[in-house]
């Protein structure tokens, strides 16, 4: 990414107050989950006598159905949710970019094989794939990350492939090829960097959708292993208490909503900033 692009991004942010708000939200959530250990409560300590207490001065978010401090759980849960989002994004972007560039750059049968593979994977309902893959792996946070990552790279691969097709015809790439640089070098030094904006946008959106997928998996009972929790699993176990302890569903619900919304929003602002012409004010 060159200086010009960076300046466009900064300019775009200045226009969009909400984009700054989104950044602040994400920064706060990230810091809060990193410094979760400062909380005076053990997030996993059961206190049978303190079940379902409403938010108060001692328990800011109240307590859950096992008497655990809900704020501490939300902080640690944020750690899990954000890491799931971030790490599955890394996997998805990694596979997606690799497959996409190889497919686009080499073309021919390589392209054909890879893209048909993408077609196949996109044709099987993704929920089936998730549930079935889940049976193969030991339950836990790593499994969730791997499953979500493995199921969300296909779109990125398609976008990257399309972009590669146009980038590889540009003069500097042609020049690099004529001057005898290795294919690997051309891809890593010339093609991927010029696609950085596209990749960054896709990555941002991918974090958002990974966090959403994690919460859907929790709904089906496939997610983080207790005693740990994610916002998704907290939300799911809160469903049973909607009448008598609505705060239990509201806190994690809004945390997910705000986080996902911020990532989506950020993705769009970046897209607008990177785009050469359209949609700019």
């Amino acid at each position: 990414m060159n200086a010009l692009k960076l300046r466009q991004v900064v300019a775009q942010f200045k226009h969009q107050k909400l984009a700054i708000a989104a950044l602040v939200v994400l920064l706060v959530f990230t810091l809060a989950s990193i410094f979760a250990f400062l909380s005076p409560y053990d997030p996993n300590k059961l206190v049978v006598t303190e079940r379902l207490q409403s938010p108060s001065a001692t328990h800011w978010f109240g307590t859950d159905d096992h008497g655990r401090d809900y704020l501490s759980r939300a902080l640690y849960g944020g750690r899990v949710s954000l890491s799931v989002g971030f790490l599955s994004m890394i996997i998805a972007v990694g596979i997606g970019t690799t497959v996409g560039t190889i497919s686009g750059y080499f073309g021919g049968w390589v392209d054909n094989v890879l893209m048909r593979m993408v077609d196949v994977l996109m044709s099987i309902p993704s929920f089936f794939l998730m549930l079935i893959l889940n049976a193969y792996l030991k339950p836990g946070i790593t499994t969730i990350i791997v499953i979500i990552g493995m199921l969300s790279w296909m779109n990125i691969a398609r976008i990257v492939r399309a972009e590669t097709l146009s980038v590889k015809e540009r003069e500097y790439v042609l020049y690099a090829r004529v001057s005898g640089q290795s294919t690997f070098n051309i891809i890593v030094k010339h093609i991927v960097p010029s696609m950085m904006p596209t990749i960054i946008v896709a990555a941002t959106i991918s974090i958002a959708s990974s966090i959403m997928m994690e919460s859907s998996l929790s709904f089906l009972g496939l997610g983080i292993q207790p005693p740990n929790s994610s916002w998704g699993s907290m939300l799911n176990s809160a469903q049973g208490y909607i009448g008598d302890a609505p705060y239990m569903a509201l806190f994690p619900g809004f945390l997910i909503l705000l986080t996902v919304l911020s990532f989506n929003f950020l993705g769009d602002v970046l897209r607008t900033a990177f785009e050469p012409k359209a949609n700019r004010k």
């Binding site: 048909r116 077609d119 196949v120 994977l121 996109m122 044709s123 099987i124 309902p125 929920f127 089936f128 794939l129 549930l131 079935i132 893959l133 049976a135 193969y136 958002a208 959403m212 919460s215 859907s216 709904f219 089906l220 998704g232 939300l235 799911n236 469903q239 909607i242 009448g243 569903a249 619900g253 997910i256 909503l257 996902v260 919304l261 989506n264 929003f265 359209a278 949609n279 004010k281």
Partner: protein, 316 residues
């Protein structure tokens, strides 16, 4: 045109076969044994083996696949491992509920999102546009099961306006009753759909509004409304067609989470049950139907592109 369609269909066949092999292998190789749910403590190993044989699970996986493929092509989709009813019957029982729900959700979503997006595009960056775009951000960021349960709590338990589950009131058999049951699940689906669609259609409309032909219309003194309806509307059809093509398999496969939350008797609920029971004949049935629908959806979309915009066909 006919040749084109034929070629596309022929191209789809290997794709469908690969899909079936991949899904079959994934399900069959998964740890977990569909027989285990039929085993009781006092059964001898021989009894268990007999059940396994009866289900055809004792043969090597490629033989099982071959049997499945041959039978499938001759119209025999096999029997569910769970309730021993024919897979095709099971699917046919569920299809109307899913098509009804997903179809009306798709229709309503388009009906709502097209005018809303055009309105938002025309008032780009004004207050109305910002509010609409915020709502659509919320729509794509809200966990659907949470939204669903909240709606049930509010409208079915607190206000008692609407039923909370299923497709019919027991003992009542009227179309109106089905519609009433569909309102809440439909709301969830429409809200999520509209939020996604709006983003595509709005940006398509904005780029159309910047085109020269629109500027010329303005120069002739047309109002924004006339321009939108007479000229831009036609051109926003492209993203609508894409969406339509993409949604085709969902029309059949259903919405897993929404159907579960509302106990909607559709394909999504059937899908979840069968995956948990490793009921492979049913899973394969649903996967194949949904893949075929995807192929058809893409094909339809491509044909429609050609009709709407003749320039595109030459590219194929």
């Amino acid at each position: 045109m006919h040749k084109y369609i034929l070629r596309r269909i022929l191209q789809a066949i290997p794709l469908l076969i690969v899909i079936s092999i991949v899904s079959f292998a994934l399900i069959k190789l998964a740890p977990g044994d569909p027989v285990s749910s039929f085993v009781t403590p006092d059964m001898s190993p021989e009894d268990v083996e007999r059940i396994r044989q009866n289900m055809g699970l004792d043969q090597p996986i490629y033989v099982q696949y071959w049997h499945w493929l041959v039978n499938m092509l001759s119209g025999d989709w096999g029997y569910s491992l769970v309730n021993h009813r024919p897979v095709l019957t099971l699917i046919m029982e569920r299809l109307p509920a899913t098509i009804g729900l997903m179809g009306s959700a798709l229709f309503l979503s388009l009906l709502i999102s097209v005018p809303l997006s055009m309105y938002a595009a025309a008032r780009k960056n004004k207050a109305a546009d910002k509010v609409l775009s915020l709502i659509s951000y919320i729509g794509i960021s809200i966990p659907s099961f949470w939204f669903g349960i909240m709606l049930i709590y509010l409208f079915a338990v607190k206000l008692q306006w609407l039923p909370s589950m299923g497709m019919r009131t027991i003992g009542v058999n009227s179309f109106l009753d089905v519609v009433k049951h569909g309102i809440l699940p439909c709301t969830v689906l429409v809200f999520m759909n509209v939020s996604v669609y709006m983003r595509y259609i709005r940006s398509q409309t904005i780029s159309q509004l910047e085109e020269d032909y629109v500027q010329i219309q303005y120069a002739y003194g047309s109002t924004t409304g006339t321009v939108l309806v007479r000229h831009v509307l036609k051109n926003t059809l492209l993203p609508v067609i894409t969406i339509f093509g993409m949604s085709f398999p969902e029309l059949i496969a259903g919405a897993f989470i929404t159907e579960s939350v509302f106990s909607w008797p559709g394909m999504g609920a059937l899908g979840i049950t069968s995956v948990f029971a490793l009921d492979y004949p049913v899973i394969m049935g649903i996967t194949m139907i949904s893949s075929v629908m995807l192929v058809i959806g893409n094909l339809l979309a491509d044909i429609l592109y050609g009709i709407v915009d003749p320039r595109i066909k030459t590219m194929k």
